[in-house]
């Protein structure tokens, strides 16, 4: 039962989500008594990075035509080299765009948002997130071929070094339907979905001019920043920072919520966080019921003080 995994890279550099997907694939392969083959499109990173997490074969697709992303062309390319019964993807934006197309192309079952190693291999059954994090589903695949996408920060990155070898495949996949016109990447910003720590703020902050202290706290923690929905609706922060049921679902190790009430729709996207800290002036704020640690007080005093104390801890 050959296990394949899509090792996503950005501009040639593997994402943390790729290492997590390889870690997951290795767990599946161990269950199946087989090995992991990783597939990557135009990587520049060293293959050693994938051996480290358990991929023993690596197929590097080289294709100038795939310099720019196209879900359809990438699905085509992956399908040409990944002929396993199980193909693992991370649940990133790009990978979760390719996976459904590939599933149809190969006639495979597709199970997305997977949280844990499979409960059984035949039939293939696995636990996944559902109802925007308000519940879990145990999903069973019909038939033999299965594609899964692994929810980010759920399974974790697990070192499991193997010795491996790399193969380069030159492809030239037709990519005529879509053309990238421009590409803007804000450099230096931590990817919210990959971040281990997220500092998030809501309408309690009163205005966009007060986000400096949130960014300062995030900086000392090496964290990404996020916000509640009304904050991005009013335009205080970009849409990309909106977390919750209708925004991004995240699962960092630490989520610090400042001036956020904890409405059910907000919780839905963040309650998979391992540790939750809530800072709110209202002792009745519903968020305290879903928190591990709470502080009742004014964020305008608490956040700068907390930032100083963490800075001191980090020396």
């Amino acid at each position: 039962m050959a296990v394949f995994v899509y090792a996503e890279n950005i501009n040639g550099v593997y994402k943390k989500a790729a290492f997590e997907a390889v870690s997951f694939a290795k767990a599946v392969a161990d269950q199946a008594g087989d090995t992991v083959t990783a597939v990557s499109v135009n990587p520049t990173d060293s293959s050693d990075l994938l051996y480290k997490y358990g991929a023993s074969n690596i197929i590097n697709i080289k294709d100038e035509g795939l310099k720019n992303f196209s879900a359809k062309a990438y699905a085509q390319a992956v399908s040409e080299v990944a002929n396993g019964n199980i193909i693992v993807f991370p649940h990133t934006t790009d990978a979760s765009s390719i996976a459904p197309m590939l599933a149809v192309m190969n006639g495979y079952s597709l199970i997305t948002n997977v949280l844990e190693a499979p409960e059984s291999l035949s039939p293939f059954q696995v636990k996944r997130k559902a109802f925007s994090g308000k519940g879990f589903m145990h999903a069973k695949a019909e038939g033999t071929g299965v594609i899964v996408t692994v929810s980010q920060n759920a399974f974790g990155v697990k070192e499991n070094a193997v010795s491996g070898s790399e193969e380069v495949k030159n492809l030239s996949v037709a990519n005529e339907d879509t053309k990238v016109i421009s590409h803007e990447q804000s450099s230096g910003k931590l990817d919210l979905k990959e971040a281990e720590i997220v500092v998030s703020a809501g309408r309690g902050l009163k205005g966009p001019e007060n986000w400096g202290m949130i960014e300062d706290l995030a900086n000392v923690l090496g964290a990404a920043t996020a916000c509640s929905k009304p904050v991005s609706d009013i335009g205080w922060r970009p849409h990309t920072e909106h977390v919750g049921q209708t925004g991004k679902a995240i699962a960092p190790n630490l989520y610090i919520a400042v001036g956020i009430s904890g409405a059910i729709q907000h919780l839905a996207g963040v309650n998979s966080s391992k540790t939750i800290v809530v800072i709110n002036s209202d002792p009745e704020a519903p968020f305290f019921k879903s928190a591990d640690y709470g502080v009742v007080g004014d964020s305008f005093q608490i956040i700068p003080a907390l930032t100083e104390k963490i800075k001191a801890l980090k020396g």
Binding site: I10, S70, A71, K72, A75, T93, S97, I98, P100, M101, A103, V104, M105, Y108, L110, T112, N113, S132, K134, G135, F136, M137, H138, A139, E142, E176, D177, T178, V180, I181, S182, H183, E184, Q185, S186, K189, T240, H242, Q245, T246, L254, I264, Q265, A268, K274, V277, V278, K289, D292, Y293, G294, V295, D298, Q301, I302, A305, L306, K309, I310, L313
Partner: protein, 248 residues
Amino acid sequence: MKILVCISSVPDTTSKINFTADKSAFDKNGIQWVINPLDEFALTKAIKLQESQGATVTVINVGDAVTEPVIRKALAIGANDAVRVNLDPKDSFSTAKEIAAVVQNGGYDLILCGKESIDYNGGSVPGMVAQLLNQPFVNASVGLDVNGSKATAVREIEGGKETISVKLPAVIAGQKGLVDEKDLIIPNMRGIMSARTKPLQVVEPASSEVKVQGVSYDSVPPRAAVKMVSPDNLDELVRLLHEEAKVI
């Protein structure tokens, strides 16, 4: 131009999610159904194209008769007509197949979807429809313009945005940003009245192949009781995060 908007009927966002006693299914008791919030962005975008380019907008839902109020709401928002495929969908693939079958008979130039539905969070139907129709697919779209047989879509990427030119027909899956939240259309009385007489065609499913089954469901276990820390003792909070939770 003919636009098809795929809408899903989902539990409203305030719903507490419960499962049946034997955990084999989602418990639909007492649930209010709404248009999947991400689909509303797609629907509003379609109505804007209807206004600016004279497009016709058809909504499609794969669902049993229980979903008709949600379809009527989409008509009240401004869609011209609707198709319901009479099947309580069991997985993303069966849903996608039904939508693709309707598209094949209808000749649509643009298929708009929400990026994922907030119930089963498959995020799979749009990409599957695109592949079944052999059309290009842009996911996580936060901007869209149509110009003749071409569209320009903006998609969200990790840490940025990408602008793409797409040949039509194509499948675009949207989210907030495709239109602004403030531009979402709330149906008025006239819309609601006219929705009652707009055509809603019910078609029987073309196939019933299922690829994934929900075997059982669990609720999220409750968190341990919150530990409150005094705002005058933030050293204690830092200690707890460092020594107890070990997250900093």
